[in-house]
Symmetry: D2
Subunit: 287 residues, 4 copies
């Protein structure tokens, strides 16, 4: 087994900490026990932190609110960088007018809508408005009838030559200790094969989400990639993406990657974190 | 444009004709107009024929019945070779006892059930019977709740190391002149990516369905591959599969491949039919 | 660890044994120690056997000769079913005249040439003969200049709409206990991506090679799939292919799949052999 | 045919122009005729420009020199952003000490070496130094023996858990009007399949190269993505990448995408440029 590093010792070396959300701060049962102490320590040490997440199902404000309800008040909307924010930026820069059809909940679309673009659920696309649809966006696996609405989306994307944007690159997400649900990223992968066109994807491991966070910091202070560490539980998103962007990386064993399999997974994938830690929890007596 | 061949002249050269069903004999509106004359001619000429189809949604008897209702009586159950029959053979040879969970309609499963295996819809799998499930079969895109049941299937296949069998390799099928529906093969492709295990697929272009038909003929008469021609509307299933099995092949332009795109499609895919015909219709005044 | 089965007890239950070659009968050092006893036992018990191999680098006669030189005389040319034989059958049925360009050694091509087709190494294709090339075949990773000849092959396949046939589906093969070489199947995979056309592949796990062996037996005696067992060291070729064709399968731990990893590999791939044995060696004192 | 836009009118609307190199500024015969006038116009209008290229075979200084020799002096080293520069940045940030083994020419490696890392051609890796190799980089398809050196690289990457970095994502590049050569990106794709590990790729369409250019500009002036246009000849690198990064894009018909196929390619890929122009040449009498 590779050496397990002490999480507190690691974060002491960096100015800014990027955290993945699911499997690091929270899991299907709620907050990771003790994670609040980590943010107490970060505050005490005057360290900066951002949550870099592939969750586009809600706005940063709604995501932050969900942490507050669980008792973690350190996570404010301005600390959250989501693949939904990149989708919003793309629509702002590249889609001028018309209607954007979405797959997801009303909540997920509401955040995009605030741009001024008109959004409708894909189920409302019909022969009278199909020619005004200028993008199809995949936001969440909930909020629509899979059979009916995925079939509508296939036919819209076959008929119209418009961008299809996937705001979450994950294929599945955990719902209990042993069970997963298919994520909107998994549905989008199927759609891309069936439609035969190239979709645009935002989210880890793609560099663009890291760059978005990096830029946001540089707006108010100078920073180097050497000063940032990415903390995540998944090799092929958090660690691969962080490494490629040039960041040091911490794999935590509190989520997708379990202690007994970590060596084998690193060897077979070739994706190597800078450090491995049990979790992102900083114990109280440590500081 | 490549030379268009005369369909009657072609079939005169072979003893046995294999037909794909959708896009060749029928389409979303019903029978291909005039297709009955082809079967009159085959009967007159004492030619043999088989329908080789990736449709596992119904039994051969039900499929034949659907042609009879449309007025085509030449297609009897013994003339139909479907990917469902290969699935049935696989279960017979390789799955000994236990329960087979399926995605599809009751009709599609009824045919498999006749083997003596106990079949249940995937929605009925729960903690009391999951350890008795010995195979999961993908039969039809209808007859189940996509969101609920695909998620159950993902978790059954993650927990149990059992075969997942896909009885239809198509990703989509046409429902109107310009619209398609996602087929069970498309859903299975997504499931294979999400689950990360290797599924077993039956149906064109895989050789096994052609071999099944070939064997069936050899049970009652000697035959050589040179005596058989495969007629289909789709390059990457009918023509690729027929070619690879060693058959001559006819691409007809009455379905998936349209006249204006046929040259480009052949060049870009590298899949070359022996002949190209407008359709599989033998005109009355031809004979 | 799954139960390890006794190889002798298994073969006692079947009439015909199919063996993979590399990792089962031989490895990079020569014959698997003791394998001769297995064939003594098979002879004593009057069992039939065939070598079903993805090796298209030599003719069956040359392959058999290589066993004889190592002291194993039981393997005669008529016992060998290779992916090269399927390539030969394909050329016989589907390529009428013209030149076949090949990548591989002269030996590998000599076997194909005996059909009467004119074969040339791909390096000899030029502007005067390119329009007569009617197929490109991938036979062996040796016998040609990779950089020069792969680039010629790419351009031949871009310019001509002709079949590209791959006579070996393996991506790599072992050359020492820890090292591999890229196989012609790996080179062909790259070529297919670069050219963007669909290649035709023969070899396990594809059913056609099993069917070829099955047919060969049925030419002289009645047989059922239940009477045959496939013995191999590789899950995704020997075991997947055998299972799909409807055969019982034995995974041996003398080659690609090692004892300490077998459980994990079966679980992660979902490819399940009927039996697992240390090797295909029948100990002398067993019989 | 979609409307063909006037290149001069387009660049008048932006402050900064990103150009792809091959197929836009030059082709297999030399400079695109008249391209010098474009740079005269850019200078006159005081527009900024950068060459954003997947060419990692030489340093920016060597690349600039090759334009000077052809008579185009506007392209200076500081105007060139190559995937080799991202590789260099990655090594600087993420590989601390040890040896970097490369596939490519000495020239391609020399640029990387200047970092202080020790680089050796992959052919010099042996049992005495393999444990000191800390990265394998794929730089150029020239400068090494494909068969010998690709096999060494496979075995180094199987034995060591180290990053494999691909400095060019292209699978092939044109060498004459109708012929291509396999690029190092194509070789790396094969290696990734054979080795089974995840490689790190730099170059269009990945956002990181666009971000690198964008950052470089922001170091000396404020800029918005709205002020930049990306000009390229290839839909799935230049246009897809530019679009995803949030830039407006110009597809020119002087390289990979020909006038007679442009509509079909856009429709089948779903990758839509903001504009389409014959070439990136600004005619003299235009200004």
């Amino acid at each position: 087994m590779k050496r397990i590093d002490n999480f507190k010792t690691i974060i002491d070396k960096y100015d800014v900490i990027f955290f993945d959300a699911f499997g690091v701060l929270k899991n299907y049962e709620g907050l990771v026990p003790g994670i609040g102490k980590t943010f107490d320590y970060l505050k005490e040490q005057n360290k900066e932190y951002y949550i870099v997440t592939n969750d586009a199902s809600r706005s940063p404000a709604q995501l932050a609110d969900s942490y507050h309800k669980k008792g973690l008040h350190a996570i404010t909307p301005d600390r959250i960088i989501s693949s939904g924010m990149l989708t919003k930026e793309y629509l702002d820069l590249k889609v001028e007018g018309g209607i954007v059809a979405y797959l997801g909940t009303e909540d997920s679309a509401h955040y995009i809508e605030s741009l001024g673009l008109h959004t409708i659920p894909i189920s409302q696309v019909n022969s009278t408005n199909i020619d005004k649809i200028n993008a199809v966006i995949f936001l969440d696996d909930e909020g629509f009838d899979w059979r009916n609405d995925l079939n509508i989306a296939v036919n819209v994307l076959r008929r119209r030559t418009i961008p299809a944007i996937v705001a979450n690159t994950d294929n599945a997400y955990p719902v209990t200790v042993s069970e997963v649900s298919i994520a909107i990223g998994g549905l989008a992968t199927m759609m891309e094969i069936v439609v035969g066109k190239k979709f645009i994807r935002f989210g880890k491991p793609d560099s663009q989400i890291f760059m978005f966070a990096y830029d946001l910091i540089r707006d108010y202070r100078p920073i180097s990639k050497k000063d940032i560490v990415m903390v995540g539980d998944t090799l092929h998103t958090d660690i691969l993406g962080g490494n490629k962007f040039g960041l040091d990386t911490v794999l935590v064993l509190s989520g997708n990657t379990l202690a007994h399999e970590v060596d084998n997974r690193i060897t077979t994938t070739g994706i190597v974190p800078t450090y491995i830690c049990e979790s992102a929890v900083v114990e109280k007596d440590m500081f």
